[in-house]
């Protein structure tokens, strides 16, 4: 498989130290580690939200560390999707408009709103929230809101989806539902890199990177043949071995 994201010798403010790894197309990778290990900081650097002190980050053949802020913004808009723990959305827009926001910017004047809207509704339909299109963000549950965030992240058909603790603010059953959506997206071909604290969430990923004190301490791939329970147990054992 071809690499979609390649990180080489990345350093940032002493929090990240000489980090190198890669993510292949269609892969779903989890980054785990204790609080303060640098997980979120790593995500901000590889997605171009922040600029690393040194090292290289290649996404889909483009080295983003050398790009200007505006160029990185364009790249995020067209090739990346984001899902945050806090489900950040514009409070003055309804769910549909929030989902359409990145699309209306990227396709300004090129694609009619109707077409974008039907794309958004299809995504919402898949996530089971189509009926909530006109609701304000304060009128839906946390799980529904996080699904809407996933729809927003997918509206521009990104090459890679970054998720920062996407189930951190959800209860267990909602978290499972949301993770099912991530798995489905991955199976449909979306590459995903997510930061998580939850070993059950990580167990659904193809590969887990363990971060400690700003360095990657280990890597684990639960084999595909195992059942869900066995995968979770295997991940827990591995994490225990890493000192989790």
């Amino acid at each position: 498989m071809e690499e979609l994201l390649t990180v080489k010798k990345l350093c940032k403010d002493g929090i990240l130290k000489d980090i190198s790894f890669d993510v292949k197309i269609r892969e779903m990778v989890a980054i785990m580690g204790p609080s303060g290990s640098g997980k979120s900081t790593l995500l901000y650097q590889v997605s171009g939200m922040d600029r690393a002190d040194s090292g290289e980050v290649w996404i889909d053949g483009t080295e983003i560390c050398a790009l200007s802020e505006d160029e990185r913004a364009k790249l995020r808009l067209s090739r990346m999707g984001f899902v945050f723990q806090q489900m950040n959305m514009l409070k003055n827009l309804n769910l549909l408009d929030n989902i359409l926001l990145p699309a209306s910017r990227l396709n300004r004047g090129k694609v009619p709103r109707k077409e974008l809207e039907s794309r958004a509704r299809r995504l919402m339909g898949k996530m089971g929230i189509e009926a909530l299109a006109q609701r304000r963000i304060t009128e839906v549950s946390g799980g529904q809101l996080q699904r809407a965030c996933i729809c927003r992240s997918m509206i521009n058909q990104p090459k890679i989806l970054f998720a920062d603790e996407p189930t951190g603010a959800l209860n267990q059953s909602t978290a499972q539902e949301v993770m099912a959506e991530f798995t489905r997206l991955n199976q449909e071909g979306t590459t995903i890199l997510m930061v998580t604290h939850d070993s059950k969430v990580a167990a659904k990923c193809g590969r887990i990177l363990y971060l400690l004190d700003g360095r990657i301490q280990g890597e684990f791939s639960p084999t595909g043949a195992m059942g869900e329970k066995e995968r979770e147990a295997a991940v827990s054992r591995w994490l225990a071995g890493m000192g989790w």
Binding site: D70, F84, N92, D97, P102, R105
Partner: protein, 755 residues
């Protein structure tokens, strides 16, 4: 999508949107009004001066004139387009009764004349030249219409003669109350009938080519030895006198506009910063998903653009709706302005400029969103930099708004008290006395001056007096040419005018120059000046510079003039002993002078101020009260908003205090305590800036109008009394209203972790 965001944004926060709109509308209103009034005033004055064909140079003269010599002088000069001599019959004010109002107390030189033949016409209220005046009819200066509520058909009594008011007239050169003479128009036959009742003087008038130098012409006129027994005036000075009375009101409105604009900028910046801080996470999210910074900035900017457009339209509509009340006086005195469209255009430009400035400040504030990285915004933590991502200026802004509000209230009050004070005339070239006696248009001025000096010296009720005689001299310019100059000789230290630089002349070789005179001669304090008197050339050192708009503005003051010469007129300044009733003394002395055969006009200077600047004072008073209202309203709105914001921020803390057992009164008390230093600092800074900076600011504007070295007469009662009280009450009420929400915060909210 942008329209959707904008609409939802306005719907979501109507209070902030309305406040922002209000500030934008008020700023646009004030600037549009200032531009409209200024252009309207200049336009009206110019239209009137054009309709009346105002002369370029005018010499008043009491005594005989040699028409042939004047004609010869005119023929030799190419720059003269036309020349004429007009007669003006100076009447005793006590002999004149308009309707039921006697002019006995009036401080103006009132008199009659007939319509001019070639130029300097007296025009009717439509600005048409009054062609025919029938016998028994009279046209009255328009300023008296408003002053005495006169109407056509009423009678005017002049001595024994009775006239019917046929209409009202505008006089392009004597229209302003600051011009000290007023011309009534009668028929030729009536003029001849009245002749014995007054003293006649001449107005020798010239119309010059457009490219002619009025000042050079004035010098040539004096050098030619032509009649000069009276003041000489040029067209620019007439325009200035016309513009000055209403100009002062416009000046106050302009100053208020500038301060209001500053306040608006501060408040809009404040509300925007507050919003940006609240929206930090949203901004971070937009950045994270790849929205370009320009796009994010525009999302906010669009709202302000829409509000400013709405504000400008409302401001303009309000300005056009309210201009009527403020232009009523202007229209009455000067008639309609021909450049009406320019006024509208200027108002548009004023409103556009205001909104432009406000939007520019909004854009600058929005730049902050660019400095904030996506990560900083999302986490709320600054990375790498020590600065907070979006610092909230909060209390500083409230203190600044209180300062500016105080400034806004104090400045017009100070201007008002300065202009109302008898000392204000000292900036206009009039001495600091209680009573002024003028000896003009009479025979043997030198002899009568001596006679009056003796009479005053014997008078027990007089505390002190000074006699000043004005003589015509010529100054030698560096290039060897001459310039005509009216030099006032006498002791100038007794009742001094205000000196912008230096002091009054004391020594034999000292001379003080008026600002206009010093400008023309290019002289400053310490320079020397060669003066040609009747005896011999004499060198003088310039010891002081003062502003003067009397007698043509180009005057000088000296303690001694060699040889004396023949004075053109004399002025006495008198102050009475304490307890002497001024009015009664004036009445007795008018009679006594008349019995002694001295034709002198006695004026109470305080009354002169009221007569001359009465209208201006009234207009400024109106503007000053409007400023107090506007300032109080702005302070109130800002304090209410700020307090509401504080309460919203402190919701959790307030809830906790309630949970711990604090009463509503305790919590409110805490906020009042927090506001106290802000209020005190604002009041103190406002008093200081209003008095010091305000004086500088008003001085700059007044200098352009001819008054130099302007000093505020601070109205202590207002500045340290009721104005701070208004500020305290306003802020108190604002805090009280802003704290209403505290009542609705529940004690258990903090336990639920609700923000």
């Amino acid at each position: 999508m942008k329209a959707r965001i904008l609409w939802n944004e306005l719907k979501g926060g109507p209070l902030l949107a309305v406040t922002t709109w209000l500030f934008m509308a008020v700023s646009a209103f004030m600037f549009a009004l200032t531009c409209f009034l200024a252009i309207g005033l200049l336009g009206s004055v110019d239209t009137l001066m054009e309709a009346a064909k105002t002369p370029d140079f005018l010499q008043m003269h009491a005594g005989e004139i040699d028409e042939a010599a004047l004609a010869r002088f005119t023929e030799q000069r190419e720059q003269v387009l036309s020349f004429q001599t007009l007669r003006f019959l100076n009447l005793e004010n006590s002999a004149m009764v308009l309707g039921e109002h006697s002019l006995a107390d009036n401080t103006q030189d009132n008199g009659v004349c007939v319509q001019s033949e070639q130029f300097d016409y007296l025009v009717d209220l439509e600005n048409h030249v009054i062609e025919e005046v029938r016998s028994g009819e009279i046209y009255v200066p328009v300023c008296y219409r408003q002053m005495f509520g006169l109407s056509v058909g009423e009678t005017v009594q002049i001595g024994e003669a009775e006239f019917t008011i046929a209409g009202f007239l505008r006089d392009s050169q004597m229209n302003a109350m600051m011009a000290s003479s007023k011309r009534f128009l009668v028929s030729d036959a009536d003029y001849e009938l009245l002749k014995s009742a007054g003293s006649e003087e001449y107005l020798i008038e010239f119309l010059l080519r457009e490219d002619a130098d009025g000042n050079a012409f004035a010098t040539a006129y004096t050098d030619a030895g032509l009649p000069t027994n009276g003041p000489a005036i040029t067209k620019p000075l007439i325009r200035m006198m016309n513009a000055l009375s209403d100009g002062l009101m416009i000046l106050v409105i302009l100053l208020v506009s500038v301060v209001l604009l500053l306040i608006s900028m501060l408040c809009i910046r404040f509300t925007l910063l507050t919003q940006l801080e609240a929206d930090q996470k949203e901004i971070g999210m937009l950045k994270a998903i790849g929205m370009p910074k320009e796009e994010i900035r525009n999302l906010y900017f669009l709202k302000f653009l829409a509000l400013s457009g709405l504000g400008a339209v409302c401001g303009l509509v309000l300005a056009f709706a309210s201009k009527g009340a403020l232009t009523a006086q202007m229209q009455e005195l000067y008639g309609p302005s021909e450049n009406g469209w320019w006024g509208f255009l200027a108002a548009f430009a004023g409103a556009a400029l205001t909104e432009g400035i406000l939007l520019l400040s909004v854009r600058r504030t929005l730049k902050r969103t660019e400095k904030l990285s996506a990560v900083e915004a999302l986490t709320g933590q600054p990375r790498g930099s020590k600065q907070r991502p979006l610092p909230s200026p909060q209390y500083l802004i409230v203190a600044l708004v209180i300062t500016l509000g105080m400034f806004l209230m104090i400045l017009p009050q100070n201007i008002l008290s300065t202009i109302s004070s008898p000392r204000f005339v000292t900036y206009m070239g009039i001495g600091d006395g209680e009573i002024r006696l003028d000896l003009r248009q009479t025979e043997d001025i030198a002899g009568k001056t001596e006679q009056l000096k003796k009479l005053l010296a014997q008078e027990e009720m007089v505390d002190r007096f000074a006699a000043l005689q004005t003589l015509s001299c010529r100054a030698v310019l560096p290039d060897g040419t001459y310039s005509a100059m009216q030099v006032e000789q006498g002791d100038h230290t007794v009742f001094p005018v205000s000196y912008a630089k230096g002091a009054a002349p004391k020594a034999k070789n000292e001379i003080a120059l008026s600002y206009l005179c010093a400008e023309e001669l290019g002289l400053s304090v310490g320079d020397t000046l060669l003066l040609l008197t009747e005896e011999a050339p004499q060198e003088y050192t310039v010891c002081g510079i003062y502003s003067d708009i009397t007698n043509g503005g180009k005057t000088a003051k000296a303690a001694f003039l060699p040889g004396g010469g023949t004075p053109m007129w004399s002025v006495f300044y008198v102050s009475l002993k304490e307890g002497v009733p001024k009015e009664q003394w004036l009445l007795t002395w008018t009679q006594r002078l008349s019995d002694s055969g001295i034709r002198a006009r006695a004026v109470d200077i305080q009354e002169y101020v009221t007569d001359t600047y009465g209208q201006t004072i009234q207009e400024i008073r109106m503007a000053a009260w409007a400023a107090v209202l506007a300032a109080a309203l702005v302070m109130f709105v800002v304090v209410v908003l700020f307090t509401r914001l504080l309460v919203a921020q402190d919701r959790n803390e307030i809830s906790l205090r309630k949970a711990l057992g604090f009463t509503l009164r305790d919590i409110k008390g805490l906020y009042f305590l927090r506001f106290l230093p802000v209020l005190l600092a604002g009041i103190l800074a406002g008093i200081l800036s209003g008095n010091l900076l305000g004086e500088q600011l008003a001085g700059i504007f007044l200098k352009t109008l001819g008054a130099m070295g302007f000093r505020f007469r601070i109205d202590g009662k207002a500045v340290c009394g009721w104005i701070p009280a208004v500020a305290v009450v306003t802020v108190f009420c604002g805090v009280l209203l802003g704290l209403l929400e505290v009542k609705h915060i529940r004690a258990y909210e903090c336990c639920m972790g609700k923000e």
